[in-house]
């Protein structure tokens, strides 16, 4: 599958890879350059491959509330909440963002889990009067991320005469939905992101995507902002530095939210939801490994699957690893037995037969400066 920006990516020099069945740009220049661009200026990402599910109808709340771990009922209009969707065993089916609009909801899901989640929602709608629409193929999504994202997005909104309030005043994890001249479906702008920087994610219908991206880059040029398109390679190094989990690595159906250190996204007291009973038990289980951050000594990268040892005994496994361009060292996230999760704990990581020291670090590795 291709997003409406595929030709645009190729024209901008992107190297294309398959990601969850989508032909996506992994990099346009180099991963490290694109990473630094986001941390210092602004990067433009095509995230149209992610699933966008739309819910409408008087009965939307109850089914939503029953399938996610976080609480939708306490969400304000325009608010965006991170949540897990769990199965009956408490295993994570996906991590999602839920948006609350006026008489409607949206869920943004991982590309790799879109069909699974659509099926899950369909089978758990409890025969309610509810419209579930998968709008992924009709509307695309981009992200503008970095310290200059606010200025760039503000100018973009001005240039397009979007009826949005001052973006500077928009709170983090809030959104605005509006009709815009030249589009048949509403535009959604949210102050969200997957990089650890300030930024905005924008949903527009397919026919407007190319023009939107061209406009972002030409505006950036005019404003003297060194913004460039950025690919999935940089997206991964950025989210890892920010300690953010990636489904299929830190999250899977074999892992529960408490192990993943995502207890803040689980509201046990909100009432019944799928997986709640199992999660109650798992929360008390001290034999389950937990997610930690690691700094690796030396230059070699500890990649997914690498074994972690304490005095020769296996105590865990790496789920994501890379070279951190910001910290200039190899970092990783891993699941380790509870006795070894304290920051400062020294372990060995087996990298293709040779061990290196791995030190447990608190997450995130990187936090942006508050301005």
């Amino acid at each position: 599958m291709r997003t409406p920006l595929y030709d645009w990516h190729v024209a901008h020099g992107a190297r294309i890879v398959d990601f969850a069945g989508w032909d996506m740009p992994i990099q346009y220049s180099t991963i490290i350059e694109e990473h630094h661009t986001v941390r210092k200026h602004a990067g433009l990402f095509d995230i149209s491959h992610m699933g966008r599910l739309w819910f409408e109808g008087p009965d939307a709340v109850e089914p939503l509330q029953s399938v996610i771990t976080n609480d939708v009922k306490t969400m304000k209009l325009g608010q965006v909440r991170y949540s897990l969707v769990c199965n009956e065993k408490g295993g994570i089916l996906d991590d999602v963002l839920v948006y609350r609009f006026d008489q409607a909801w949206m869920m943004v899901v991982n590309a790799s889990n879109r069909e699974k989640i659509v099926g899950w929602l369909e089978s758990h709608r409890k025969l309610k009067n509810l419209l579930i629409e998968d709008m992924t193929r009709k509307r695309g999504m981009i992200a503008i991320q970095g310290p200059a994202a606010l200025r760039l997005s503000t100018e973009l909104a001005k240039a397009k005469s979007w009826p949005v309030p001052d973006l500077a005043a928009m709170k983090y994890y809030f959104s605005v939905l509006f009709a815009s001249a030249g589009t048949t479906s509403p535009v959604i702008v949210s102050r969200t992101g997957y990089t650890g920087e300030d930024g905005f994610e924008i949903i527009v219908e397919n026919s407007n995507l190319v023009e939107l991206c061209d406009q972002v880059l030409s505006l950036a040029k005019r404003l003297g902002i060194a913004a460039t398109p950025c690919g999935l390679g940089a997206r991964d190094t950025l989210r890892l530095e920010a300690g953010m989990p990636l489904y299929g690595h830190e999250l899977s159906e074999e892992i529960d939210p408490f192990q993943a250190e995502l207890a803040w996204a689980v509201k046990m007291e909100k009432g019944p939801f799928i997986g709640r009973e199992a999660l109650h038990t798992r929360q008390q289980d001290a034999t389950l490994p937990h997610r930690v951050g690691l700094e690796i000594e030396g230059k070699r990268i500890a990649r997914e699957g690498a074994s972690l040892l304490s005095q020769g005994k296996p105590v865990g496994r790496v789920c994501s690893g890379t070279f951190s361009p910001t910290l200039e060292k190899a970092i990783a996230m891993a699941y380790v037995q509870c006795d070894f999760t304290a920051p400062g704990t020294q372990l060995e990581v087996d990298i293709r037969g040779k061990t290196a020291t791995a030190r447990v670090m608190p997450l995130p590795f990187y936090t942006r400066k508050k301005t």
């Binding site: 992994i26 990099q27 991963i31 390679g233 190094t237 070699r300 990649r303």
Partner: protein
């Protein structure tokens, strides 16, 4: 300045330059450009033996680890420590300053089985589809 046209190439993107019984090995510009984001190069020690078709080291980029293959049998007589500490030297000049190892070839060793520059160019052209 080393002229890439005078070198021989392995299908696995290493280049070889023979002077007497010494063979100098590196990787091609194509390989460097494919990898991008070089983090680390692991090379053998002086005195180690290398074997034709077998790995002598690794090159690590953000995305992946690649193995380095020796085209000949022999003993390592030189290792370019500079690129181990700073892979950007390799990226900037893969055929000259970015050399990796020097091998004293086993007597009777040849590099005729390796690709010529023209043959290698053809191979990478077809790989880019």
């Amino acid at each position: 300045m080393v002229d890439p046209k005078t070198l021989r190439y392995a299908a696995t993107h290493e280049w070889a330059r023979v002077e007497g019984d010494t063979c100098t090995i590196g990787i091609s510009k194509f390989a460097v450009d494919q990898l991008t984001d070089l983090i680390y190069v692991e090379l053998p020690d002086v005195g180690d033996n290398v074997f034709a078709g077998e790995t002598f080291g690794e090159i690590e980029s953000v995305k992946a680890v690649g193995e380095l293959y020796s085209p000949v049998n022999g003993e390592v007589t030189g290792v370019n420590e500079k690129i181990v500490n700073d892979p950007s030297i390799l990226s900037a000049d893969p055929y000259d300053k970015g050399w990796m190892i020097k091998i004293k070839m086993e007597p009777g060793s040849k590099v005729d089985h390796l690709l010529t520059y023209e043959q290698y160019e053809k191979q990478i052209a077809s790989e880019q589809h």
